[in-house]
Amino acid sequence: MSNTSVKKKGTKVKLDSSDKIIRGLGYFVAGFYALVCVIPFLLILGTSFSSEAVVRKSGVSLIPKEFTTYAYKMIFNGGTVWGSYVVTIIMTVCGTALGLSIIAMTGYALQRKDFPFRNAISFYIYFTSLFSAGLAPYYLLMTNTYHLKDSYLAVFLPLLMTPWLIILMKNFVKDIPHEITESGKIDGAGDMKIFVSLVLPMLKPALATIGLFLAIGYWNEWYQSSLFLSAKVKYKPLQYNLYEVINTAQMLKNSVASMYITMQDMPTETLKMATAVVSTGPIIFVYPFVQRYFISGITVGAVKG
């Protein structure tokens, strides 16, 4: 009796200690990494409320020193950021709605087993992610053939969809039983009617996930803007506005009401910080509520590309 019980006890203790070490390591590593992910954002937030002189002297800090909202006042009084907000919000809302409807329709049609063109069209779309012309031909086409230089359309249109998002939608549609479509057909409904009234309501999680990817794409957009929007366009999308404020002194000056201030008096660094906070704030605020859809997007679309 004693022999077996000792043995049992022994293994139990051993098991507990190794599990404890791993669990402790887990809490430490996960907690540490989580903090490291958030602290840089807090550094910017804290510094944006500090006075310029303190920042120049003692650097960035988590807690504002010589608390002031001067930088924010400068941005919001006659600066370009309001216009940028309007541009970005309109693009995000319209682009997400339009892109989402196109992606959903395409994803549904391409997943219909009886649709004879599904393989051809799927390949036609997928091929674009395998081989591309590259930046220079694309740039020449957009500017010289489509004449989209300095047009918001040059930013708005290319972000509407990607092959990957359509494939992701196809994967979501795959889980909807084919009988749904069949039953709609028996009731005499057309394809569009079946899609809108039977399939679409079942695609809510897919719409949330893909809509989130699209919305983030529009909100974070700076690349197309940097290609196609020159100084002639006064109100850049928010992130590109931030890019210019960070990288060019002249834009920094334009981003505030420039009449009554000289370059020397500009609180350049805190102004950059405040612009960063203003440009990123909304998405960080919304993010905790929507991140679960993000996760479903990764797990549905990750391996099966």
Partner: protein
């Protein structure tokens, strides 16, 4: 009744022999549903393809792509002999290799550890915080790096000077950037990437783990002999897909952190950043397109090759 039956029988062969145009008519609604996407990819992905010709000419703005004088492979020749092509390819591939290998190992490590956490609250909050960097635009990431590292008021220098050390000026020192860029990349994506592995860990049959515990396996043995082998298929597939993209660089990350700082180019210039500068700053469309075409062809071959291997190992996961 009999009539209807025979009519039904008759329609069966007709369905099979339907011609292309009859299919177009019958499935016109589904085709129309695909039409916006077809037009979109035609306009933005297929229309630029003929423009690849610019890589073989000496581009002249007034004459256009197809009116400019043909120079054959001269644009490629220049890139090859100057060593630029080699430098760009080397940088792009080495960075991607580091991103892929270290990134996957860290993601697996994180997924296994998160799986061991028992506090639901802690798990949820820490995961939410971990995904945050992935949501943020590269513009802000570049700025964060600048705030941490810049010479005058950066966080790192502030800490160094307060401890009595010399200031550190990485923005004029090309050698340290591979390390910085890799760290920033890992910082940004590890939380996100760990989700895939986390899902795979969750998918492991809990009976196997219970059985191992009954047999007296300790925590380390459980991870070493059960969890890691179970993650292997996922890892191999993800690695292979990542390998397919090994010549495609992460433009947003590099451009926003490095910007236009020629001091740092030798160790940080990747294909994308070079093509971007050649197009937007120098308007050297022929050179840019030559590099782009080179990248597209190698990228295409890599994807095809990796997909071939995936198909051999795990046919369900192959792309086509």
């Amino acid at each position: 009744m009999k009539n209807r039956q025979s009519a039904a029988i008759q329609t069966v062969p007709v369905i099979k022999k339907r011609t292309f145009w009859q299919n177009v008519v019958k499935y016109r609604v589904l085709l129309l549903m695909c039409l916006p996407a077809i037009v979109f990819f035609f306009a933005f992905s297929y229309m630029p393809l003929p423009g690849i010709w610019v890589a073989f000419v000496k581009y002249n703005y007034r004459k256009g792509i197809f009116g400019s004088p043909f120079v054959g492979l001269k644009n490629f020749e220049f890139l090859y002999t100057s060593g630029k092509l080699w430098e760009l390819t080397r940088n792009t591939i080495l960075y991607n290799l580091a991103f892929i290998i270290i990134g996957n190992l860290l993601a697996i490590f994180m997924a296994i550890l998160i799986n061991e956490l028992r506090s639901k609250w802690f798990k949820k909050v820490s995961q939410t915080m971990m995904f945050l960097p992935y949501f943020i635009s590269h513009v802000l990431i570049g700025f964060l790096v600048y705030c941490l590292l810049n010479y005058d008021y950066g966080f790192v220098n502030k800490v160094l000077t307060s401890l009595g050390f010399e200031r550190w000026g990485p923005y004029s020192n090309a050698g340290v950037w591979p390390v910085i860029l890799i760290i920033v990349y890992l910082w940004q994506v590890t939380g996100y990437n760990s989700v895939v592995y986390f899902a795979a860990v969750m998918g492991i049959d809990s009976e196997i783990i219970e059985a191992a515990k009954v047999d007296g396996a300790n925590g380390f043995q459980k991870i070493r002999h059960i969890i890691i082998p179970c993650l292997k298929p996922t890892m191999i597939i993800l690695l292979l897909f990542a390998m397919g993209g090994i010549v495609r660089g992460n433009f947003g990350l590099f451009y926003n952190i490095i910007g236009q700082n020629p001091l740092l180019y030798p160790t940080t210039d990747i294909i994308e950043t070079y093509v971007y500068r050649a197009t937007i700053k120098d308007f050297n469309f022929s050179t840019a397109s030559a590099v782009g075409l080179y990248q597209s062809i190698i990228g295409f071959l890599m994807v095809m090759g990796c997909n071939f291997v995936v198909k051999k190992i795990e046919p369900d996961y192959s792309l086509f």
